[in-house]
Amino acid sequence: MTYTFQFGVLAQYQDQILSGIWLTIKISVLSIILGCAAGIALASARSIWGGAVRFLVDAYVEIIRNTPFLVQLFIVYFGLPGLGLRVGADTAALIGMTINLAAYSTEIIRAGIEAVHKSQIEAGEALGFTRFQIYRHVILVPAIAKVYPALCSQFVLMMLASSICSAISTQELAASAAFVESQTYRSFEIYIAVTLIYLALALVLRAALALIGMWLFGRRVARRTMTALPEVQA
């Protein structure tokens, strides 16, 4: 192999790469916040009301979890304008990521809620907690603490999956890589560099989530967050 690597040419495109990194961080953080909030709301709704609400939430979760993220993005970006909703590429990416992440968070938090033992709730009742207090202090918060590492793994996966948004022309990190590639034809170099950036972003995100976990739930949860790898659930 007589190929000489030239990473030097990439330096002049650092503005594009930096703006790509920034957009990746922005849509990832926003979708994590929105998706996680939606997940908590949906998982709570399905366990509180049951019946039709539970059926609808479960149907939503199953539909999202059994179709590819790319196709969901296509439906949001190309399909919504047909219904009269015109959205830009960045907004479409954010909507798609939030919809996707909400379904996964719902499923993870549901598992946590269902793992809370009945005797805990009875203990809460015996202490004279109101229904709301029981739900908040006995069910929801311990449930989230229990599944927090799994949830964080899903967040990291979502950040990595944001690279797929380049397919609908969102100008995030993968798209800026494609741009630089088209300018310099140094495909291998740019993709190696960008892969390393993604790796670094994944590590930083995991560390940040572990810190948040320490602040919210204490040291034990934080340690599990750092070492947890994506759980593949059925």
Binding site: E62, S163, A234
Partner: protein, 219 residues
């Protein structure tokens, strides 16, 4: 000029492309399974450097986007002088992707076999190979079935990413039809429905296996 509408012919094309999605999934699961199994064994090996190397491999694969694995193997292989058809490039990258995740899943399954099983088989003077062959793996495989089937769902879904390098599978076929018909909502809903038809039964199977497993074990 009249545009084509999304009709039976187009749906037929989607069905035809679905088979490439399935072919790619099978390649990824077989290739990724073999490689992943080797990495899982390395991850539980007795030599520490081997364990660290395997762990780093898993961390790296799980820390980068599938899209980047795809681009790197696509451009990397052509740099190395191989002129490969997209199916091979796509298959190679899906294999690498699957191996990183399967290795970690199976490591968990191997380590989930109780320690006493290792000790008991060792006290029967079994070699390491015999321990794996007759004691550990038969139990680990049983544990590994539900998560492995669950991961197959992820593989089916992630094969859609290969459409970005131009491999014509289900998602790419949807794009092509959309370019001809301009009925994105219908086309992509049909594409999503086809993925769902493949993935949902697998998800349910994984759940069923999981429930069976828990009935069987008293732990």
């Amino acid at each position: 000029m009249t545009l084509k509408t999304f009709g039976l012919d187009q749906f037929g094309f989607l069905l035809f492309s679905l088979q490439w999605t399935l072919v790619l999934t099978v390649i990824a699961l077989i290739g990724g399974g073999l490689l992943g199994f080797a990495v899982a064994l390395a991850r539980t090996a007795q030599l520490k450097p081997v364990r660290i190397a395997a762990a780093s491999y898993i961390q790296i694969i799980q820390g980068i986007p599938v899209l980047m694995i795809l681009f790197l193997s696509y451009y990397g292989l052509s740099l190395a002088g191989f002129e490969l058809p997209p199916l091979i490039a796509a298959g190679a990258s899906m294999t690498i992707y699957a191996s990183g995740y399967l290795a970690e899943i199976w490591r968990g399954c191997i380590q989930a076999v109780p320690k006493q099983q290792w000790e008991a088989s060792e006290s029967l003077a079994m070699t390491r190979l015999q321990q794996y062959r007759y004691v550990i793996l038969p139990q680990a495989i049983r544990i590994s079935l539900p998560p492995t089937v669950g991961f197959a769902v992820q593989v089916v879904k992630n094969t859609s990413i290969t459409s970005i390098i131009g491999f014509v599978e289900l998602a790419r076929a949807g794009q092509l039809i959309n370019n001809a018909t301009f009925q994105p909502f219908r086309v992509f809903l049909a594409v999503a429905a086809l993925y769902f038809v493949v993935c949902y039964p697998l998800s349910q199977l994984s759940r069923l296996l999981e429930r069976r497993l828990h009935v069987g074990s008293s732990r």
